[in-house]
């Protein structure tokens, strides 16, 4: 009796989902599918384009800057994902212990995430200048020898930009972990404490495993944001110095909008899509498996 009722209910609900599915297909799936044939053309943005087969994909092999852009993107992603998750987790743990003050602080921590990337870029670019606040502070505390032109030194530029990304997104990660903390039953923590567990043991043995779903969400969202990063390296360092901050997203932007190579740029975006899909799917699968083991 249950199965036919469920089927009837599904049939009743189906028409209600159709508009949303239709819109999603039209606005998201259709452009995505159209990307593939466009990537097989020599389009320069005009009304006509010749089919060039896999030439754009073969050209990637000879593109000297593409490999460094891919490397920069991966380094940036690893640094930001690790730092953002660690800082977000630490902040969430702090907020949990600070009760009402913690809630107020949570709002403050989210403020950088509300800023546009453009605004954040301008603020931090001025901080990173040769005579900017960061170098002034280093000087004032006797660490003048560490002064740098942070965005002009190839060895520091990418990390300087990663710091800005972490600054913007750590509050969001903290919110995700804070939500995770709230799902942990208080009596479970109490039981651990009664068994003699200290604060670190409570965190490591009880809270950390219970936060597995939050970690999955935080890392997945962070991966998505980092792999497509564009605005910060574009505004803060223009991809330089010497391509040190050129990311895959920036490479696509320049190829399409500055060089007008729409066909090749679209092929690059297909590559980016593949990289994002593979990495996010793999990370998600690993984290879900971890959840299954821990929970």
């Amino acid at each position: 009796m249950t199965a036919p009722r469920t089927q009837t209910r599904s049939r009743t609900l189906l028409p209600f989902t159709l508009p949303a599915v239709g819109l999603y297909a039209l606005l998201m799936v259709y452009p995505l599918i159209k990307t593939i044939p466009l990537s097989l053309t020599d389009s320069e943005g005009g009304p006509t384009a010749e089919n060039v087969g896999l030439a754009n994909y073969r050209a990637m092999l000879d593109d000297a800057t593409l490999l460094s852009a891919l490397g920069n993107t991966l380094v940036f992603t690893v640094v930001v994902v690790l730092a953002q998750s660690a800082i977000g987790l630490a902040l969430a743990a702090m907020l949990r212990r600070w009760g009402g003050y913690g809630k107020a602080l949570a709002v403050v921590l989210l403020t950088p995430a509300l800023l546009s990337s453009l605004m954040a870029s301008y603020i931090w670019s001025s901080l990173y200048q040769q005579d900017g606040a960061i170098n002034s502070v280093l000087n004032a505390i006797g660490l003048g020898s560490l002064r740098q032109v942070w965005l002009a030194e190839p060895s520091t530029a990418l990390y300087a930009i990663a710091v800005v990304h972490v600054w913007m997104s750590a509050g969001l990660a903290a919110s995700i972990f804070a939500a995770g903390f709230r799902t942990i039953p208080e009596d479970m923590l109490e039981a651990a404490r009664l068994d003699g567990a200290n604060r670190w043991q409570v965190f490591w043995k009880v809270e950390w495993p219970m936060l597995a779903p939050s970690l999955t969400v935080a890392i997945t969202l962070s991966l998505l944001g980092c792999l497509r990063v564009l605005e910060l390296p574009l505004v803060m360092a223009k991809g330089g110095p010497a391509n040190a901050t050129n990311t895959l997203g920036l490479q696509i932007y320049r190829t399409v909008f500055a060089n007008g190579e729409v066909g090749y740029g679209t092929a690059l975006s297909v590559l980016l899509l593949a990289v994002v899909t593979i990495l996010v799917t793999a990370a998600n699968a690993l984290l879900r498996r971890r959840e299954g083991r821990l929970l």
Binding site: P241, F257, A258, G260
Partner: protein, 421 residues
């Protein structure tokens, strides 16, 4: 009641359609012989700039009472994106500003009207014509020939005992030594975007390569010449390596400074004695009563030929789909006359791209302009290796050289790779 509603709905649809038709592209409002509104878009004429563009358009309207100019200013960074989308959508303005590097692509896409038969096309200065052409067709009207050269703050130079801007490389190096000795600021090459030093090397090459081989660009395009095999390019790059080695330029610091904002502001504030920039920056750099000279980049040797680097700056093109072809052609014809060009060239401190329109006299640019008038100048091949893509790749390669990551030969090989792709 129902039929009334249907009539009302039909009327609303018809009215909306008419309104939409009116909104898209140029207005066809001269059907009854009334004035035509010509839609024009460009990246010049921001609210912060002086009103010269408004004045030029007003002068055109005055001489053409049947045409009204509806000018849209679009900020430089987003201009290309906006216009590309409009062109693809078929609703771009009747007349639009374009950079020479965009012309081959837009002409190939069929967006640009062929202007070869226009009277001003025969008046174009010889080196300019190929840069506003696609194939053998003239597709744009240039509104300036911009100079790229050396700005000197004469007050700072005088404080170091120097009474004139340098004209050769040895003078330039000696001046920097004198400035250093006198405790005065020296040369600034702000290069965050990878533009300044790339152009400074091109400016040196104007004397070291093109003065002796005026057809080098054609040879390069034909595969008969390469950057890495040309001694003049090597010497031009070596000059900049030497400036860093001698301590005249701190490249790590310069690579952190934006050439379009902080770099020019610093020069205007007297924080550097020398700066490479375009002639268009003259009005900003000469602010606050600064005594500024704009001269060709002193890249040549003593006794050698000194040449100036120039680039076709803004150009005007006509949308191939315009329904006001005659009026748009009149507008471009006006822009090739002294009535429009003289105020524009004065505001931009640029040179005339037409043989019949003289370059206005602008204080501080006399040496540069006389060098060009004497025919000792080279125009950047914006539709060739100096296009947007080449500029980005070469600018980044030069940064690598000056940061010690690469050699001159490797940098020039990177130039050749960028020029080929």
């Amino acid at each position: 009641m129902r039929s009334k509603n249907i009539v009302a709905l039909a009327s609303a649809i018809v009215a909306s359609s008419l309104a939409l038709a009116a909104c898209s592209g140029s207005t066809g409002d001269n059907a009854g012989g009334g004035p035509v509104t010509l839609k024009v878009i460009g990246w010049k004429g921001s609210p912060a700039e002086s009103a010269y563009l408004k004045d030029i358009n007003a002068a055109f309207e005055k001489s053409h009472p049947n045409v009204k100019i509806d000018y849209t200013y679009a900020q430089g960074n987003s201009y290309g994106q906006k216009l590309n989308a409009e062109l693809l959508g078929g609703n771009a303005e009747d007349v639009f500003m374009a950079q020479p590097s965009d012309l081959p692509r837009w002409a190939k896409a069929g967006y640009l009207l062929n202007l070869s038969d226009q009277s001003w096309a025969t008046d174009l200065a010889a080196p300019v014509k190929s840069l506003v052409s696609a194939g053998k067709k003239v597709v744009a009207s240039p509104s300036e020939l911009a100079g790229i050269g050396l700005y000197s703050n004469m007050k700072l130079l005088k404080a170091a005992g120097i009474d004139k801007a340098p004209t050769t490389w040895s003078e330039f190096v000696a001046d920097q030594q004198a400035l250093k000795k006198a405790g005065q600021p020296g040369l600034a090459l702000p290069d965050k975007s990878g533009w300044t030093i790339y152009q400074a090397i091109n400016a040196s090459a104007a004397s070291r390569v093109f003065a002796g081989k005026p057809n080098w660009n054609d040879d390069q395009a034909a595969g008969k010449a390469t950057f890495v095999s040309e001694d003049g390019w090597k010497k031009a790059m070596q000059q900049f390596v030497d400036l860093g080695d001698k301590g005249f330029v701190d490249y790590k610091a310069q690579l952190g400074i934006d050439e379009w904002s902080q770099g020019t502001q610093d020069f205007a504030a007297g924080k550097s004695a020398f700066l490479l920039q375009g002639s268009w920056a003259m009005s900003d750099l000469a602010k606050n009563g600064n005594q500024v000279q704009f001269t060709p980049w002193p890249g040549g040797d003593d006794g050698g030929q000194q040449a100036a680097l120039t680039a076709v700056g803004t150009t005007w093109t006509i949308n191939a789909k315009t329904s006001h072809k005659a009026e748009a052609q009149e507008y471009l014809k006006f822009w090739s006359s002294a009535d429009a060009l003289t105020p524009y060239l004065t505001a931009e401190s640029s040179l005339s791209p037409f043989t019949s329109v003289p370059t206005p006299k602008i204080s501080g640019t006399e040496t540069f302009n006389s060098t060009v008038t004497a025919g000792r100048f080279w125009v950047l091949p914006a539709g060739g290796w100096a296009n947007e893509k080449g500029q980005t790749a070469m600018g980044q390669a030069v940064q690598g050289l000056l940061l010690g990551q690469s050699s001159i030969d490797k940098t020039l090989e990177a130039y050749d790779t960028a020029a080929k792709s």
